[in-house]
C-alpha cells in the first residue's frame, strides 16, 4: 500500500499542530461534503507572516496528513508565499501519487488555509 507510506501514517496517527491557538487573527472552516471531512484552520498572522497555526477536524488519512504537513510548513511563511502554494506543492509534501478521487482530500488543508488568509485580508481592510 504505497499510498500509506510511513510518513503519511505517522502524520495521521500523530498529527502536528492539532488543536487550538490563543487569540488567532483569522480562521476558516471547510467541508468536503462528498466524504464528510471537516476541517478548521486557525492562524495568527503578524506583519503578514504566519507565526502560529493550528487545525482541527476529522477526516481520512490523506486529508489529515496533508494538513499536518502543511501546517508545519506554514510557520514563518509570508501570506504572499502561502497564497502562491499550488496543488503540486501539496502532492510533493505528501510524496505520493494522488488519484483523482483523493484530490479533494489532499487539498482540503490548502484551500482552508487560503480561505483563512482571505478572511484575514478582508478583516484588515475593514479596520
Amino acid at each position: 500500500m504505497d499510498l500509506y507510506s510511513e510518513i503519511i501514517l505517522d502524520h495521521y496517527k500523530n498529527p502536528h499542530n492539532k488543536g487550538h491557538i490563543d487569540s488567532p487573527t483569522c480562521k476558516a472552516d471547510e467541508e468536503n461534503p462528498q466524504c464528510g471531512d471537516t476541517l478548521s484552520i486557525e492562524l495568527k498572522i503578524e506583519n503578514s507572516v504566519v507565526t502560529e497555526v493550528a487545525f482541527n477536524g476529522a477526516g481520512c488519512a490523506i486529508s489529515q496528513a496533508a494538513t499536518s504537513m502543511l501546517t508545519d510548513y506554514l510557520k514563518g511563511k509570508s501570506i504572499e508565499e502561502i497564497n502562491k502554494l499550488k496543488p503540486d506543492d501539496i502532492y510533493k509534501m505528501l510524496g505520493i501519487d494522488i488519484s483523482p478521487g483523493r484530490i479533494k482530500c489532499a487539498l482540503l488543508g490548502l484551500s482552508t488555509t487560503q480561505q483563512a488568509i482571505k478572511n484575514h485580508n478582508n478583516a484588515s481592510k475593514k479596520d
Binding site: 500500500m1 504505497d2 499510498l3 500509506y4 501514517l9 495521521y12 496517527k13 461534503p33 462528498q34 466524504c35 464528510g36 471531512d37 471537516t38 476529522a58 477526516g59 481520512c60 488519512a61 490523506i62 483523493r102 482530500c105
Partner: protein
Amino acid sequence: MIDPAQIKKDFPILNREKNGKTLVYLDNASTTQKPKQVIEAITNFYENTNANIHRGIYDISEEATALYEGARETTQKFINAASKSEIIFTRNTTESINLVAYTWGEKNVQKGDEIIVSMIEHHSNLLPWQFLAKKKGAHLKFIPIKDDLTLDIEEYKKLLSEKTKLVAITGMSNVLGTIAPIEEITNLAKEHGAHVLIDAAQTAAHQQIDVQKINCDFLAFSSHKMLGPTGVGVLYARQSILKKMPPFLYGGSMIAAVELDSAEFAKPPQKFEAGTSNIADVVAFKSALDYITDLTFNEIQKHEKELYKYAISELSKIEDIKLVTPPEDQAGPVITFTIKGIHPHDIAEALNSENIAIRAGKHCTDPLHKHLGLIATARISLYVYNDKQDIDRTVEALKKCIKIFA
C-alpha cells in the same frame, strides 16, 4: 443452483488483474458489471441493425423497432405490468422519478397537500419531492427508522391522512440494505386515497417485482444496476394515470399531429419518450433481463442470502468493525460498516490496493448519515458473481488495513 465460478466467466471485466490479483467487485449497489451477453447485444445492434425506430420504411429500421419494442415487452413481463404501454424508457431511476414529479406531481399536488417519503431515501427519491413541495406549498413528511434500522410502520400510519397525495418510498435502502414492506405501505396509502411511487433502483436486481400485486401507481428502476447498460431507466405507471398525465419533454417522437401553433400528443408510452431513444442500450437491456430471468430470482436470493450470512459472520469476528445493518430477515445483500479510527475513504483505498472495489462515502444519503450520526460509511454490496473467496479476500484486506492504521 448458482455457481459463481461459472457466472464469473460471463463477465469479462472480472478477469482484470492488478499485481497478479483479479478484481473483486463489491460495489454492485452502485452499478453492476455487464455479462458478455449484454456487451455483445450492443455490438450486434450497431453492427447489424442500427437505425432509428418508429419511422423508417426499410428493413433495419423495422428490425430495430421490433427489438426496441421487444425490450419493452420483456420489461413488462419482468415486473408483471398489465400493459406494454405502461413501460416508459428513460435514462435512469432519477429521470423516471423526476418525470413523475414534473408531470403528475405538477398537475396533482397542491398547496397544503402532503408527500410522504422515508428517512432512508436516496437523494434521487428526495430532491424531486423537496423541489415539488416547495414550489407548490405542499409538505414533506418522513417515515422514521427504528433502532433496528427498519422503517417504523406505526409512525407511518400516523403520518397518513386525507392530505396525503403521494407516498414515495424505496423498495430497498442502498445503504442499510433494509427491505421495505412495499405492499403493506401501498395498501395503507390506498386506504387514504394516496398515490404510491416505489423507487426500485435497489430492488429490481434482487427481488421479483409484481406491480399489480404491489398495487403501486409508479415504479422506477435503472438498467445499469441489474447487469444492463448505463443510460436506460424504466418508469412503470398505471395506464389510467398515464392517460391523464401531461408530457414531460416536448419534441419529436411524442406527437400524433402537429400544427404551427398546436400539437396533439401520441398515446403513452410514446408521449413520454420524446426524441430519439437510447435504442441500442434498451435492446441490450433485454439481454440483461433475460440473463436474470434465466438465473431465476429464487436462485439469486438463495445465493445472495448464503453469501450475506457468510460475510456478516466473518466481518463480525473482527472486533473493530461496526456493522450498520438491519435484522437479517429484512436485509438485502448490502453490508455497510465502519471501522474504529479509520476513515471509510482509507478503508476503500486500502482495499483498492488489493484490487477490491467497495464504496465509501455517504452514498447519496446525507440525511440518513446525519441521522445515524455517521460522517461516512464503507459499503459492500453483493451480486450473482460474488463468491466466498471474494469475501475471504476482503476480510483479509480489512484485517491488514486495521493493522496498518492501528
